[in-house]
Subunit: 339 residues, 4 copies
Amino acid sequence: MLRVAVIGAGRIGKVHAAAVAAHPQARLVAVCDPIGTGAADLAAIYEAKAYAEAADLFADSDVDAVIIGSPTPLHAQQVLAAARAGKAVLVEKPVAGDVDEARALEAELATFEHPPVMVGFQRRYDPSIRRAKALADAGELGTIEQVTIVARDPGPPPAEYVAASGGLFKDMTIHDFDEARFFIGDIVEVSAFGQNVLPELAETGDFDAAMVLLRGAGGAVATITNNRRCVTGYDQRLEVHGSLGSAVMDNWRETTLSVNTRDASGVRQPYLDFFLERYAAAYSNELSAFIDAINSGTEVSPTVADGVAALLVAQAAEESARTGRTVRLDIGGTPDYGG
Amino acid sequence: MLRVAVIGAGRIGKVHAAAVAAHPQARLVAVCDPIGTGAADLAAIYEAKAYAEAADLFADSDVDAVIIGSPTPLHAQQVLAAARAGKAVLVEKPVAGDVDEARALEAELATFEHPPVMVGFQRRYDPSIRRAKALADAGELGTIEQVTIVARDPGPPPAEYVAASGGLFKDMTIHDFDEARFFIGDIVEVSAFGQNVLPELAETGDFDAAMVLLRGAGGAVATITNNRRCVTGYDQRLEVHGSLGSAVMDNWRETTLSVNTRDASGVRQPYLDFFLERYAAAYSNELSAFIDAINSGTEVSPTVADGVAALLVAQAAEESARTGRTVRLDIGGTPDYGG
Amino acid sequence: MLRVAVIGAGRIGKVHAAAVAAHPQARLVAVCDPIGTGAADLAAIYEAKAYAEAADLFADSDVDAVIIGSPTPLHAQQVLAAARAGKAVLVEKPVAGDVDEARALEAELATFEHPPVMVGFQRRYDPSIRRAKALADAGELGTIEQVTIVARDPGPPPAEYVAASGGLFKDMTIHDFDEARFFIGDIVEVSAFGQNVLPELAETGDFDAAMVLLRGAGGAVATITNNRRCVTGYDQRLEVHGSLGSAVMDNWRETTLSVNTRDASGVRQPYLDFFLERYAAAYSNELSAFIDAINSGTEVSPTVADGVAALLVAQAAEESARTGRTVRLDIGGTPDYGG
Amino acid sequence: MLRVAVIGAGRIGKVHAAAVAAHPQARLVAVCDPIGTGAADLAAIYEAKAYAEAADLFADSDVDAVIIGSPTPLHAQQVLAAARAGKAVLVEKPVAGDVDEARALEAELATFEHPPVMVGFQRRYDPSIRRAKALADAGELGTIEQVTIVARDPGPPPAEYVAASGGLFKDMTIHDFDEARFFIGDIVEVSAFGQNVLPELAETGDFDAAMVLLRGAGGAVATITNNRRCVTGYDQRLEVHGSLGSAVMDNWRETTLSVNTRDASGVRQPYLDFFLERYAAAYSNELSAFIDAINSGTEVSPTVADGVAALLVAQAAEESARTGRTVRLDIGGTPDYGG
């Protein structure tokens, strides 16, 4: 049984705590959160230890692995401290607050031996996305040419959250950037149109919707459509189009029921709402992959390098949306602004 | 160009007249209807002759073929007269008012040479049903085991129509009986539950809804669900289940648009309403098959024998629904009431 | 925490054991199975006690409730013994081996005070079926007129299982009979066509497929289509048609992915296979309802009376399929064979 | 009866000729094509006159209206000549070979009185797209925020056609540009990524696939995805997402049949292929709108100004794809290259 601790007793921390508790190969042994009774409350549910200080947690020899769901600015330093303490790490996205910090983390981690460090792009473990990837890898879709990703949240987070989020591209689109990379590889060109559609977020200075074009190193292109608000629920779709076929991921509903009336036919419920429901299987599979990587030495995916790459694309998208220019990315990493 | 006349200037007569007028290999030359200005009005649209008497029409040497859409009690005698006059005939369902009359017609037609006589079960020419049949015949579904037919009208005809219709099974289900025979062959056993769900038809003495079980000579079984009222439109579905797979026919809508809102997702329009819209392609294909049978000697389908067989099943269903017994049919045709 | 024991360490017993272990308000305390190491093996996983004798289990004061997943012939006596011992009971379908035994059980249970006894028709707790029921109860579909149930297993059980199963109608269709009763109430008329489509079951003397017509006391009718073999997976569908609309339950697939190629579009995976996957949520919800009934005195559904009623319909269906007659059921319970 | 002539006896000319011949308010009176026996052959089918010279056609007083389906370089001059001759004009897209020529045409047409001139963006008359537009205009989707258009041809035209086509954006995407304008209004910003995925078109110097971002004057954005090759057929989809909901247009198939087998479920046929099949209703509705504009003075849509605007966006997309810059458009029309 892998002994796992969770840092952060907020929404995502609770998801991970529950996933660990339910997993046959893991046991939740500790929860860490500096604020109020968060750690204690969450720990109590699972009869785990509660910590206020991450340092104390890292010093706990009863902990084999930590799942980091703390605020983004803490990610890089906690990953590093945990790795130095010999803990395996699963860190929520983004891996760090910006590209420089992420690269510094990546460089530092390369200087010493440590257990696996995995980044929490859980979509790679969603059964539908995995099946699309498997079909693509098996060549059943031919050469991948065009990818379409739609990701809309049911409703916006509070303005304070948005203001501190690092921006739409790092906070929300980062999942889509990793998903696009999953299918079309390294991104070499980015063009983004930001939008402001929600009055309640107007003061944040951040975009609340966007459409993005990406070009992969191999020539495939992708569009991403984001919106902080989709009244029908959490809108999560993917289309992978290749020379021999395409794979299309639809939204989930709670039931398969459709209703027919005088006015309409085929009426289904709104989409599953929100990511905890939609990606429940993904979080569970992600945890299994993390445990396998620790126990069996299977490959970690996504890696810290993937986390860096996604941040790089996010930064380029922000740049493009602000300047109205297409941004080119040297795969090595140096952005080369077009024109 | 085949010179075609239409008997009956009512709803179905107008459908056939328009189909003939639009067909590249046919020309509408005459319309016959004894009531009011029906024949003249319809004929005027297509610059055709108008007749009040069918006998006069049959005597017209400019007519190669007649499509009979007159009231059911006239079908058998008009088919016979037309065939004797050397006209090809496409007669609307049912081929006659009852089994005895239909059999007498069939026997009489066997006594002399005449052009093709075809019965208007147009569903056999619907692209979806044809494709299901083609898949079944090609063996792609394996051995056919179970067929499910749903046929619901958007709303009931007037009570007077129903009272004179010969009953639900002969008037409405007759299409489903032929459709079932199309997939599972001759029917040997029938059990029917009639229903009365519409107050406005309560005085007619007829059922306005029904569920029927059929067993084919080869062992496959079918259910038919009928209802004179389906608020979402004309509900026409089919499922053919075999040992290797199944084929399922869904309803058509006017567009492919679906709408997603706060309350619902995937909202489509009601089903196409009514048979003229739903079976537009079927009527056109039926006419082409009729013309081919005349011009090229291709096989007629459905035949008068098919019309007789459907009536026989309808009669058995009525008997079953009235007596509460399963009715067995000798394929030769003599009903043998179970028990 | 409710202390629950499971009788029967077979397939369904394992389902219930896992559901209990995962339920936040229940704890698996014992497993009982007389054969080999079944009880011990299953108990070991959950650190529960193992019993070979049900009597010993019923005498265990650490057990609050038992879930009976033993062979059908043992159901009635174990339900009675457990109830007498003051245990709450959730018994798998059918509640007894035949109608007489089930009625005797029902009568006996009425003679003394005991905790809730619930029958395991888990479909009543499936989210899709529940939603259809909720829509129907809320009047959104109007007066329910016609119900269509399709239930096909992916493949047949071994011939030995079938031979000892009590017959298709009691073993498999019994779920559909309860489902039909859920929507159209007490059944007053039954007509069934049995089929034999599987050579490997030909020697069992049992039907391996069937189509059934049911009429409810209120006038609504239902068809049930069963097949021991559906190559595409576990085919579980429902359609509830009323005067104002209909609700249609489709099958589930593992993902929402559809694939488009040169030959086809919209290609989805086979249906979820088998009932453990398809009805996972139903089993979990059923357990919650059972626990609520025990803890909070909420109504038990389905009751032993529901179990008796379903058996009565099963018996009538068998009679109808064997004799070719429609069987009428006095709601009070005395079958009155038609004709 | 409107007397209509068709210029161009190629693929699109034949479509229009057939539509005119079938229309109850129009009659095909002449066909014009300078090459070989094209005009004569097509005219013979409909018993119409054949012309080799457009000038002769324009001089024919028996012609009320002309539909121009000639090569693009001839469009502007023929539109002008027809209008000067007092004929109503429906001209295929693009309205002219480039923006300058189109603007000159627009300016010249403004100098004299003439019957309606309409541009053949037939999608505005597709029932699904019209319904999406009606929903949007009725406010049922709220404020339109994001539009997604996918348009993929089943396979590429010959390399010679592509080389002379004026480029992907003017030849193919032009329809999508008009469709985007239909929903989000005047375009003010364009970013395009061109692709080369088809070896057989590599020598043409043209893109054979593209993804485009557009921003409308009101702030809504759109993506367009084009590909000269989609193996599943003619892939024509649209999604209009607003603050209150979204409307999604799926592809059509020839039948509603879906097939379930051991390997897959829900298997449908490939998409309708190609535009003649997919947009049959659109061409018919477009002709009706043209006739109505002539007969009843209803508004022409799309106008020559719409044709100019679509060309302007196409030119900007080409510029963006070639330079890697986002191109801004002054709504008045002067392009202002970003950066």
